[in-house]
Every structure is written in structure tokens, then in C-alpha cells.
């Protein structure tokens, strides 16, 4: 901006500030976002002068989608309020789902217990002590039938946090649909199906990279033909951020994972214009509202560029980055847990201002235990208050044009592109993971963060400042899953094994044969096996024998 009046006003402001600083210095010498991006005192028209609006910001629903993937956003309809839930047995979780639907949740999100996530039946020795703890235990189609009892699968969309055994759980969902008389093409939902971030940050991997990528691309292919409304993958930065990454790293490593999946599917002969439409993403929402909003906007723009320029994608739907958000579990404190409600509110606001397609809000007690029904309700209400009362939903991308938000959007995009370039130089994300590159970066950031809290450079209210001596959790009713859940589940499994007949045996042989032949799609074969009640652990067992197991790569 070259306007004389502007220049004069700016000069006056700056000299006044500089004079004032001697008497009243600012709180810190320098300011930065939680992720370390420097924050200036003031952003003004000068910081936007170089930006071409149409090129870099544009209009919602149009390339490069900086302002959102739909043209009317929340004026049309709100995001899907999707609360991640699951614990104990299928019966207990089914009851929780029905409660959530009554309370106005608009989508289900299944949390599986660790044995299910890692492909062990509940009676496997490695499953001891874990049944039903962090999610619901699913051993076979019989459990899945109970999980969705009296929930019509054509009336809800369901997201399933399942990765290494994603094909099996998807197959069970399809089979439940069949029993309800709902064809696969009518089913809507998402499987996480993102193995790379398991290697990097979350740890529930089973198989080595090559067969894992084959399973993923088999799912892309199968769903493209049979379950067209299904989001075949949720490429997740959430857990990368939880593991300690910065916002820039979250975007960079997530999109780098995305690049690896698109490349793998392309190499298999699939058309990115087609499968690209069913890719979805999953990000974290932290307290730093401005940085987070900029992060989502930057991620959308960068992904659109990647799909268009790197992969030659022309279909706009396949260039769009659609994402789910979850508020940041790692920001919740065990101290003064009521404060977590406020943190979650800020995070919700950030996700909504950033244009999320669906959202899970954490409950205040999650640093202490699994959330109780009461605290889940407050978490859901938080979303509803932002949706119905805050007014930020009445206009599209309200923070666009904010000098600071646009500047941060540019900086996050550039920072992430820099990491992606480095990953390309290392030979792509698989090679980078093998070398421990993303892991090391995340661990360094996590350790720096811990040190900053201990030095007081970062303030966490109630933890390193404004502490009280009260018993923080006193009076809070925490949800507990007792060990009898495991015994009950094992008894159920035993009964199933006795009553299911023998058909599963030959279906398992078919799975083994398919595993050996790269050109056979594994999903239909797995579907046949789950229909006759082959268990998840049995199917994964066969695949473990054929594919081997991944061993983590530690760089400390």
C-alpha cells in the first residue's frame, strides 16, 4: 500500500511504540506461536501487499480451497458432530451410541480396544488386561452386529479408528449392513486406514510397509467399485501432533503420508481423479487459535497444489482436502480439570474457524481416565454452543483477510513444503520413516516443549502457574472398565468358536491364498471370511504369517 496517509499514520505509530517501549517494555523480547513461528507486533496492509487474492486465497469451494471446500460452508449445514466413543463390550458401547444419537450427535465414531486394533482376539495372551479398555472389543461379526443393534446404517455415517486391520472391520460393517438389508453402496463413513502415522506416532501397526500399503490400496480399489460413499482413508496428523510435533510438522508429515498413499495407488493403476475424491484427513486442534486456523487453511491449499501439480489431478473434488478434527488430548490437564472445558472451547472455535467437516470434542476428564457420560455431554454441548450461539458459523471463513491469519497461512504452507521437499530428498515418506526422520523431529519438538514448560517459558494454567492444592479430581465420577469385561468377552468368543460351524476354515485358506497373490484384492476374500464368523484375530493371524510383522524404528 503506497497511500501517503497510510505511510504517515504507520510512521507515527511506530515511533510512538518505540518511545513507549523504553518505559514499558513488552512482556517478552520476542513472541511466537506454540510451534515457534515468530509473531510480529502488528500485521497491516503491507504484510498483505504481495499476495494475489484470487491465486492464493480465492473463493470457497474453488481451487486452491484456502477458504473451504464448500461454497456456503456452515450456512448450508453445520459440520458433523462426531464423538469418538467405545469401551467395554459391544453391548455397553451400543448403549452409549444410542444415547449420543438421542443427544444430537450426527455421526458415530468407533473406538476399538487395543487387541482389536492390533489384530488379536480377546483370548490371545498379548490381549491380557487390555480388553475393552480404550475402546470396544470386537472379535467377530457377532460383536459387530451387537455394536450396531437398532442403529440403521443408512441413517448414520460411521467413522472407525482402525488401521492395520481396517479391511477386516470394514468388511464386518458391510456384513452388518447386509443383515440389515442395506446394500454397500448406501453405506457412508470413514476408516482411518492410515498405517504410516502408526509407524511414526501411534504404534498400532501390525504388518511391514509393503503389505500394509497393498491392503490400503486394495481398499481404495474395492470401495471405489462397491462402497462409493465411503471415505477410504483418514490421513491423520492428529496423532503426530499428540506425539509432540509442531503445527507445521503436523501438516508436513500428514501431507507427506498422503503423497505416499496417492503414489502407491497410482502405481497400482488406480486413477487419482477417482480415488482422490474419497481421501479424507484428520487434524488436531490446539489452543493457539490463530495458528490453528491458519494451519487448516494452509493444509487445504498445499494439498490442492500437490494433487494438481504433482499428480495431475483435474477433478476439483479430488483436489479438496476434507478433514475431521479432534481437540487436542495432550493439552488437557489432570490439574484443575474444569479448565479443560475452556481449552476445548478454544479448540472447537479454531476448528470451526478453520472450516472442519466434522469434529470430536474431548471431555474434561480425559487426562484422568476414559470420559464419563456426563463429561461427554458437556463436550458435545460445547460444539452445539459454538454452532448455534457464537455466530461464527454465519459467514464463510470469517478470518480470511485478517493480516495475521493470511501471513500465518503462508508461513505454515511454506514451512510444510520445506519439510516435504526434505522428505522427497530422502526418497519419500517410507524411506524417511525408515531413517527415523519424522520420528526424530517429533521427539525433538516434544522434548523442547517439555523443557519449556519446566523452565516456565510456556505457561500451562494450573500446572506450572496458578496452581491450587485442591484434590483436582475429587468428586469427579470416572468411568472404569473392570477386568470382568475381558472374562465375559472371552466366554462369548468361546461360545462362538463352538457354534459357528466349519465354513470359516476354508475361507481362511482363501485369505492365505489371496495374501500370496499380489494381484488378488484381499477385501472381498476377507468379507467372505467375516460373513462366516472367522474372527479378526484368525484373519490377522494368517496375514501375520504371510506378511510378517513390523518392528518399530527407534531414533532417540
Amino acid at each position: 500500500m503506497s497511500d501517503e496517509k497510510f505511510k504517515e499514520a504507520k510512521a507515527r505509530y511506530e515511533s510512538a511504540v518505540n518511545k513507549g517501549l523504553e518505559k514499558r517494555p513488552e512482556r517478552c523480547k520476542t513472541f511466537s506461536t506454540g510451534g515457534g513461528i515468530p509473531i510480529e507486533r502488528l500485521y497491516d496492509p503491507d504484510s498483505a501487499a504481495h499476495r494475489d487474492y484470487t491465486e492464493s486465497v480465492g473463493f470457497p469451494g474453488y481451487y486452491p480451497f484456502t477458504r473451504g471446500v464448500q461454497s456456503t460452508m456452515y450456512r448450508g449445514r453445520f459440520w458433523t458432530m462426531r464423538q469418538y466413543a467405545g469401551f467395554s463390550t459391544a453391548e455397553d458401547t451400543n448403549a452409549r451410541y444410542r444415547y449420543l444419537l438421542e443427544q444430537g450427535t450426527t455421526g458415530l465414531s468407533v473406538a476399538f480396544d487395543l487387541p482389536t486394533q492390533i489384530g488379536y482376539d480377546t483370548d490371545h495372551p498379548m490381549a491380557a488386561g487390555e480388553c475393552g479398555k480404550v475402546g470396544v472389543a470386537i472379535d467377530s461379526l457377532a460383536d459387530m452386529e451387537i455394536l450396531f443393534d437398532k442403529i440403521a446404517l443408512d441413517k448414520v455415517t460411521t467413522s472407525m479408528t482402525i488401521n492395520a486391520p481396517a479391511a477386516i472391520l470394514l468388511a464386518m460393517y458391510i456384513a452388518v449392513g447386509e443383515k440389515q438389508g442395506i446394500p454397500a453402496e448406501k453405506l457412508g463413513g470413514t476408516i482411518q486406514n492410515d498405517i504410516l502415522k502408526e509407524y511414526i506416532a501411534r504404534g498400532t501397526y501390525i504388518f511391514p510397509p509393503a503389505p500394509s500399503l497393498r491392503l490400503i490400496t486394495d481398499i481404495f480399489d474395492f470401495c471405489g467399485k462397491n462402497v462409493p460413499e465411503w471415505n477410504t482413508i483418514s490421513i491423520s496428523g492428529y496423532h503426530i501432533r499428540e506425539a509432540g510435533s509442531t503445527a507445521v510438522q503436523e501438516v508436513a508429515f500428514t501431507l507427506a503420508d498422503g503423497i505416499a498413499y496417492v503414489q502407491a495407488a497410482k502405481d497400482k493403476g488406480l486413477d487419482p481423479n477417482k480415488f482422490g475424491r474419497r481421501l479424507s484427513f484428520f487434524f488436531n486442534a490446539h489452543n493457539g487459535v490463530l495458528e490453528e486456523v491458519a494451519k487448516y487453511r494452509a493444509a487445504r491449499r498445499l494439498w490442492a497444489h500437490i494433487m494438481k501439480d504433482r499428480f495431475g489431478v483435474t477433478d476439483p473434488t479430488a483436489q479438496m482436502l476434507r478433514f475431521h478434527t479432534q481437540t487436542a488430548g495432550c493439552t488437557l490437564t489432570a490439574q484443575q480439570p474444569e479448565n479443560n472445558v475452556i481449552r476445548v472451547t478454544l479448540q472447537t472455535l479454531a476448528a470451526v474457524l478453520g472450516g472442519t467437516q466434522s469434529l470430536h470434542t474431548n471431555s474434561k476428564d480425559e487426562a484422568l481416565a476414559l470420559p464419563s457420560e456426563k463429561s461427554v455431554e458437556v463436550a458435545l454441548r460445547t460444539q452445539q454452543i459454538v454452532a448455534y450461539e457464537s455466530g461464527v458459523t454465519n459467514t464463510v471463513d470469517p478470518l480470511a483477510g485478517s493480516y495475521v491469519v493470511e501471513a500465518l497461512t503462508d508461513q505454515i504452507e511454506a514451512g510444510a513444503a520445506e519439510y516435504i521437499k526434505k522428505i522427497d530428498e530422502l526418497g519419500g515418506m517410507l524411506a524417511a520413516i525408515e531413517k527415523g526422520y519424522p520420528q526424530k523431529n517429533i521427539q525433538d519438538a516434544a522434548y523442547d516443549y517439555q523443557k519449556s514448560i519446566e523452565s516456565g517459558d510456556i505457561v500451562v494454567v494450573g500446572v506450572n502457574k496458578f496452581q491450587t492444592n485442591e484434590d483436582d479430581a475429587a468428586g469427579m465420577k470416572l468411568l472404569r472398565v473392570d477386568s470382568s469385561v475381558g472374562d465375559r468377552q472371552i466366554a462369548k468368543l468361546k461360545k462362538l468358536r463352538e457354534t459357528r460351524g466349519d465354513a470359516w476354515k476354508s475361507r481362511l485358506d482363501d485369505v492365505r491364498k489371496a495374501a500370496r497373490d499380489e494381484h488378488t484384492n484381499l477385501v472381498p476374500v476377507i468379507l467372505d471370511a467375516v460373513r462366516v464368523y472367522a474372527t479378526e484375530g484368525e484373519i490377522c493371524g494368517v496375514l501375520r504369517e504371510e506378511f510378517g510383522e513390523y518392528k518399530e524404528n527407534i531414533v532417540l
Binding site: P208, K435, G548, K551, E552, I554, L556
Partner: protein, 307 residues
């Protein structure tokens, strides 16, 4: 009550572990225990294999697969996995055994992680004495896994009967650029991650260097492995076994040099300990004079040694 050595010789893993700690800690009570161990009837039988190479070469994964193969042959296997200590804090994160953890359920395997503890790349005392301890306690094979830097290359020859040097393509393990030392200590070369690009070139480079060694009575072998899957490991084990026989037949000449080195190590250790003590006792008295340049450090040393 049975003594620590009795317990260790009887196979109590806690006692074995404690003895190794005493060695690491330079515990003064250790020497007398080591005397017993050295003369124990079970001692002196182990085959000591060194596995050395750059960080990231896959040594731990390879060791994991070697353990598997050796156990299948009924050998009891001890592993000493050495990692560097932080020069600033003296602390260390020892994560090599992570890749071998499945063997912890097998009482025929004993794995011990050792931090280098200021031994500047050489083998730590814990490693040298650790071999002796595991040997006396009935382990048939002892694998020392160590990063091939600095002095440890030479040290490993003094301790191991068979030395495997692990190379990988794409890690800058360019044979031409490699220090002469590491090429000379190898009895066996392993090109690991042999499914990666550049493996053929690396094998050829090693082969080219070996041309010059044709006159030796043992020409180092070259094995291609993919430790992750176990591919190529059986052939490596065969070559190792051949070298084991060769080493046995090599006779007393190398053994003599090795024992000489061990005695020298012990003398140096003791003298250096003594030196520290002498210095400590006189330090307060003599140091200020040297710092004020009233006394030269050479005369100071004479004075301390004269005690």
C-alpha cells in the same frame, strides 16, 4: 550363602548381570572375583563374534537373526550391545536390545546393553570383562555389537575370534572413503539391506579391495543379507562357522598376542587407577604451584611418582 561367582557360574542371571555391572563400575572387589572366573572349568570355551558397522546399518536386527540361528543349533548365546555415552552428561539411551526383545523369553539367551562410558570409542571395561564373565558362565557364543568408530575397531580384534563388518548401501559406506582400519579387521563382510539400490556396487567395491588380500590364509567372505526378513542370514552363519573352525586352528599365536594385550590392559587399568589416587592425594598441595608457574608439571609428576 553362595558367593556371587558361585551363583553366576550356576547360571543365576542376576549374579551374571551384577558381575558385569561391577566391571562397568570399576568396582574394586571385581579383580578377585575375575580370578575365580578365569580359572573356572567352564571358562575359555566361548566363541566370540564381533558385529561392527555404522549406526543404522542394521546390526541389532542382524544380531537378532544370528541369535535365532545359533539357538536353533543349540548354542547358548550372550550378547553385549555397546552404545555411546553422552560426552556431556555421561548418560546414555541404550536401545539396541529393542530388536532382540523376543529372545528375552529364552533362558538360553542373555542380552546386556553397555554404555561406552568415556572409553572414547574403545571397548569399555564392561565389554572386555563382560566377555570373560559370560564365557565362564557357560555361554557358547558371545556376540559383541558395537559401532565401528575409532579405537574399538582395533579393540574388537583383541577380544573377538570372528569379526563381522556390516555395511549398507546408501549410508555413505563408500568403501574407498572408508578408513583402512575397518577393512583390515574384517573376517566377514556383510552387505545388509541388500534389497536396496546400490547393494551390487557395494559388494563389488568390497570385492575389489579384497583382491589385495589374496595372499592371506583367510580371505574375508562377503554375504548379502536383508536382516529384516532374515534373507541371507543362514549363509552368513555358515561362513561364520567356517571362520570359527579356522580361528580354532589358527593356534596359539593370536591367542598369545591377545593374552598379552589383556594383561597389558589390566596393568594399565590398575596403574591408571593408582595414578588417579596418587594425584588426588597430592593435588591440593602441588597444583597451585604449577598454576602459578612456580613448578613445572614434569617435576610435579616426578614428585607424585616418588611417593
Amino acid at each position: 550363602m553362595a558367593s556371587l561367582t558361585d551363583k553366576a557360574l550356576a547360571g543365576d542371571p542376576r549374579a551374571v548381570a551384577r558381575l558385569i555391572s561391577m566391571a562397568e563400575n570399576r568396582d574394586e572387589g571385581l579383580d578377585s572375583l575375575m580370578k575365580e572366573l578365569y580359572l573356572a572349568p567352564s571358562a575359555g570355551k566361548a566363541w566370540v563374534v564381533g558385529v561392527t558397522g555404522s549406526p543404522g546399518a542394521g546390526k541389532s536386527t542382524l544380531t537378532d537373526k544370528l541369535i535365532e540361528q545359533l539357538r536353533a543349533k543349540g548354542e547358548r548365546v550372550g550378547v553385549l550391545a555397546v552404545d555411546p555415552s553422552s560426552p556431556y552428561t555421561g548418560g546414555a539411551i541404550l536401545a539396541d536390545r529393542l530388536r532382540m526383545q523376543r529372545h528375552t523369553d529364552d533362558s538360553g539367551v542373555f542380552i546386556r546393553s553397555l554404555a561406552a562410558r568415556g572409553s572414547l570409542g574403545g571397548l569399555s571395561r564392561g565389554t572386555r570383562e563382560g566377555v570373560l564373565i559370560l564365557d565362564a558362565c557357560g555361554f557358547d557364543v558371545i556376540i559383541i555389537e558395537t559401532v565401528g568408530v575409532g579405537q574399538s575397531e582395533i579393540d574388537i580384534m583383541r577380544v573377538a575370534d570372528s569379526v563381522c563388518v556390516v555395511l549398507v548401501p546408501g549410508l555413505g559406506d563408500d568403501v574407498q572413503a572408508m578408513k583402512a582400519g575397518i577393512m583390515e579387521i574384517a573376517d566377514l563382510f556383510v552387505v545388509n539391506k541388500a534389497d536396496k539400490q546400490g547393494a551390487d556396487r557395494l559388494v563389488n567395491e568390497v570385492r575389489a579391495v579384497l583382491e589385495f588380500l589374496q595372499n592371506k590364509d583367510w580371505v574375508p567372505t562377503i554375504d548379502r543379507t536383508v536382516a529384516e526378513t532374515g534373507d541371507g542370514v543362514p549363509s552368513l552363519v555358515e561362513n561364520l562357522e567356517r571362520h570359527r573352525e579356522y580361528a580354532k586352528a589358527r593356534g596359539r599365536e593370536r591367542e598369545r598376542a591377545r593374552m598379552r594385550a589383556r594383561i597389558e590392559d589390566i596393568i594399565v587399568d590398575r596403574l591408571s587407577l593408582q595414578a588417579s589416587k596418587l594425584l588426588e592425594a597430592k593435588e591440593a598441595e602441588i597444583l597451585p604451584a604449577v598454576m602459578d608457574r612456580k613448578l613445572d608439571p614434569y617435576s610435579a609428576a616426578d614428585m607424585i611418582l616418588a611417593e
